[in-house]
């Protein structure tokens, strides 16, 4: 039964509709549905599988854990870690901490936005990079810092940051070309 105010319907429109294999969640749901309080952990595991959290996954989690869909939507939208749209293969987290700020992280952001031709929070057209920011990565002495798929890089200059991106891009291109023959 849906609520007459239809807030839930409106909320659902904000999420991405995507057809994904929900069976990949089976083990996780059976493992965590026994005790309460595991919603965040389950969302984290789901995000590890799909890269982000489309509507069908959120609903499947609600049904699997036996909790209200609205609760799942509420938690998924509360925490910055949860991504509601598809991400690139490489997620660039640019640190926005205090030390990075006073050491010029804004200029790194501008340089990366220009290099990747996306704005903060967006993914490149080829699906390779997502440019995102983080509150603080805790590598303050190496400010300004960015983290790409769990690895931190610093201290950065605009040129250095772009060079790191270009290196990854080159590597990816080589792998793609090599992948045909391999």
């Amino acid at each position: 039964m849906t609520c007459s105010c239809q807030a839930e319907d409106r909320m659902e429109k904000q999420f991405v509709q995507a057809d994904v294999d929900l069976h990949l969640m089976d083990d996780i749901l059976s493992m965590y549905s026994q005790e309460a309080g595991n919603l965040i952990t389950v969302l984290q595991k789901a995000q590890d599988i799909y890269g982000y959290l489309p509507l069908s996954v959120l609903q499947h989690i609600a049904d699997g854990l036996g909790i209200k869909r609205a609760q799942v939507y509420g938690v998924a939208t509360f925490y910055t870690q949860f991504r509601l749209t598809a991400m690139g293969k490489y997620i660039i987290l640019l640190c926005e901490g205090t030390a990075c700020h006073v050491n010029g992280s804004e200029r790194i952001a501008t340089a990366l936005e220009e290099e990747l031709k996306v704005s903060m929070g967006e993914t490149t057209e080829d699906g390779l990079f997502t440019l995102s920011d983080a509150a603080c990565l805790g590598c303050c002495s190496l400010a300004p810092v960015m983290m790409i798929n769990g690895r931190a890089y610093g201290p950065l200059t605009p040129d250095k940051a772009c060079a790191i991106i270009r290196d990854i891009y080159k590597q990816e291109k080589m792998n793609a070309e090599g992948g045909v023959t391999a």
Partner: protein
């Protein structure tokens, strides 16, 4: 010989992994009897990557800024200890950064292999837990913590023994110990260092707390942004379980205790106790009214004791050495040591652990080496987004809870971001407000809307649209937010604004009335131009300009087209310093 390489997040960021590979390769080639070990962060982040050589006779040599090439040179040298240019500290002569420190919470960081429980045990690890469990006197443990005077290191500075005692006094047999490892203050990274560099200390501290209050379950609420820390803590838990240091009937006693890790999902407000508990239970991390305090009704409504990582890391030492030894250091109201994370425009950034009561000046100048690039000190920001900015006139303030809060800042978790004359204090206040405004959970109106309004005012001041009365409006809003917010986030969110107004009011006035940014940082209030007499027409600035708004030709001074200039500062950087023809006003 043993070679240790610092492999923490910061070491890896600085390039420690390729150094590790080279050293391993060289050991293979030379076929010598050398043991290669990883270790955590010793705190000298400004010298990363670090490589330490320890001879069998105990002599130790630490090399800094090691690249793969330097590592090869060190490995191939007959007497590496003579390579002065790379040496940063030796066992005979410790450097200023290390020699002024008293390391308790960080005692093992940078010395032991964090992924080896045997390494930890060799340094006396888990002896405190064993003695406590075998002594079977939980009240005695709490008494030792009381004698030590240990106060919470996460920010609020609440006496640790009091929390333990209150949780112990609860009748409910099911109790929890929660470690708050959600180190969210931008500019603080001591908890990460302990988690990555000495995870067993934390486990031991938590187990002792569990024994003292009568809990059988510990939970570490770790930050999602610290993947390496989570990995190392999980390895440590597995190792401790294998040795039955965690599990049933620890050290053959009646005491059973286990620890699990739960990861946060990126919300600053979850550093607040009640929000943290909500998050642990899988809910949105929103604080609730206290009382009941977590010690009465916490995780799943059960009595819960919550301590921060650094607090718990001190516990094994206190039990081993006695509370009085800890209390012998520090000041009347602040005992023991405190870890500070030095960052910003400082020469030697990193982690320092010093006795309470030492002055800010000593930390910044004696340990930190003063300001980078020969510039002038302007302010130090203490306590992250909940803290405040302390000006030069107050640099002789001793670091203890009371003296620091008298300045309008707070001790907080110990983040110390140093700023030079190139930092605009209005912009800095805006930076923090932007942070707290984004992180406000939205429960209290004053916090949710008030921070937004304050941010709007700060934005317009930085854009040169500030109006008369804006400063007073900020002060007024600030005091309302403090009064009308439920949790520490809202109650302290205005602090960075209020302290910068208190100490740097003239800078706000320059923005509002003169439409100038004295630190030359606020883009809308500055212009770049080229001094025709100084310009040597090299064209470097034009080449670097991302919007091609600089034109000129040989023997003619270059000119910036102001209508197209985006004020990125590339030209200023490109112009060789011997000419300094680009002027910013």
């Amino acid at each position: 010989m043993i070679i240790k390489i610092g492999i923490g997040s910061c070491g890896i960021a600085a390039g420690a992994l390729p150094v590790w590979d080279v050293v391993q390769e060289e050991i293979g080639v030379q076929g010598q009897d050398i043991k290669l070990e990883q270790t955590g962060c010793i705190g000298m982040c400004h010298h990363e990557p670090l490589l330490e050589m320890i001879y069998d006779d105990g002599r130790a040599y630490m090399f800094g800024h090691v690249t793969p090439e330097i590592a090869r040179e060190i490995m191939q040298a007959e007497h590496p200890e003579t390579l002065d240019k790379y040496l940063v500290s030796t066992s005979e002569q410790s450097n200023e950064f290390l020699s002024r420190q008293v390391r308790i919470a960080l005692r093992n960081c940078g010395h032991i292999d964090p992924e080896s429980i045997d390494d930890y045990i060799k340094t006396g690890g888990y002896q405190a837990l064993e003695s406590v469990v075998k002594g079977n006197d939980p009240e005695g443990v709490i008494e030792q913590i009381k004698v030590s005077g240990l106060r919470g290191r996460g920010g609020a500075g609440f006496p640790t023994w009091f929390k333990w005692n209150a949780t112990r006094a609860e009748k409910n047999p099911q109790k929890y110990v929660v470690c708050n490892a959600d180190e969210g203050d931008p500019g603080a990274f001591m908890d990460r260092s302990v988690l990555e560099g000495d995870p067993h200390t934390l486990l031991e501290g938590m187990a002792i707390a569990g024994f003292a209050i009568g809990a059988s379950q510990g939970i570490i609420y770790a930050r999602a942004e610290y993947p390496l820390a989570v990995k190392r803590v999980e390895i440590a838990i597995q190792q401790a379980r294998k040795k039955n240091i965690l599990g049933k009937n620890i050290f053959g006693s009646q005491f059973s205790y286990d620890i699990i890790v739960k990861q946060g999902a990126g919300a600053f407000v979850c550093g607040e106790e009640t929000a943290l508990i909500a998050s642990l239970e899988g809910e949105r991390g929103m604080p609730r009214l206290k009382p009941p305090f977590p010690s009465q009704r916490g995780y799943w409504q059960k009595p819960t004791n919550i301590n921060n990582v650094e607090t718990l890391a001190n516990v094994p030492w206190i039990i081993q050495e006695g509370g009085a030894a800890f209390a012998a250091m520090g000041t009347e109201d602040s005992k023991g040591t405190k870890v500070f994370a030095l960052a910003g425009k400082i020469k030697r950034g990193g982690l320092v652990e010093v006795p309470m009561g030492i002055t800010l000046r000593e930390i910044i100048y004696d340990l930190g080496g003063g300001i980078k690039d020969g510039r002038k000190f302007k302010a130090v920001q203490l306590g992250g987004p909940s803290g405040g900015c302390i000006p030069e006139s107050l640099l002789d303030t001793p670091v203890d809870y009371k003296s620091i809060s008298n300045t309008g800042a707070i001790m907080g978790s110990g983040g110390m971001v140093v700023m030079d004359e190139g930092t605009c204090m209005v912009d800095l206040a805006r930076f923090f407000l932007n942070f707290t405004q984004k992180e406000s959970c939205g429960k209290c109106v004053q916090c949710r809307i008030g921070t937004k309004r304050m941010l709007e005012i700060l934005n317009r001041i930085c854009e040169g649209k500030g109006q008369e009365g804006d400063i007073e409006l900020l002060e007024n809003l600030g005091s309302q937010i403090i009064a009308g917010s439920l949790c520490g986030l809202g109650q302290s969110a205005p602090n960075p604004v209020l302290t910068t107004i208190r100490y740097f009011r003239e800078e706000y006035e320059a923005h509002i009335y003169d439409k100038k940014c004295p630190a030359h940082q606020c883009k809308e209030l500055i212009t770049y131009h080229i001094d025709a007499e100084r310009c040597k027409s090299c064209g470097l600035c034009a080449k670097k300009c991302p919007v091609q708004c600089i034109s000129g030709e040989k023997k003619q001074p270059y000119v910036i087209d102001q209508s197209k200039c985006i004020k990125c500062g590339s030209c200023l950087e490109a112009c060789p310093s011997k000419w300094s023809a680009v002027i910013v006003e």
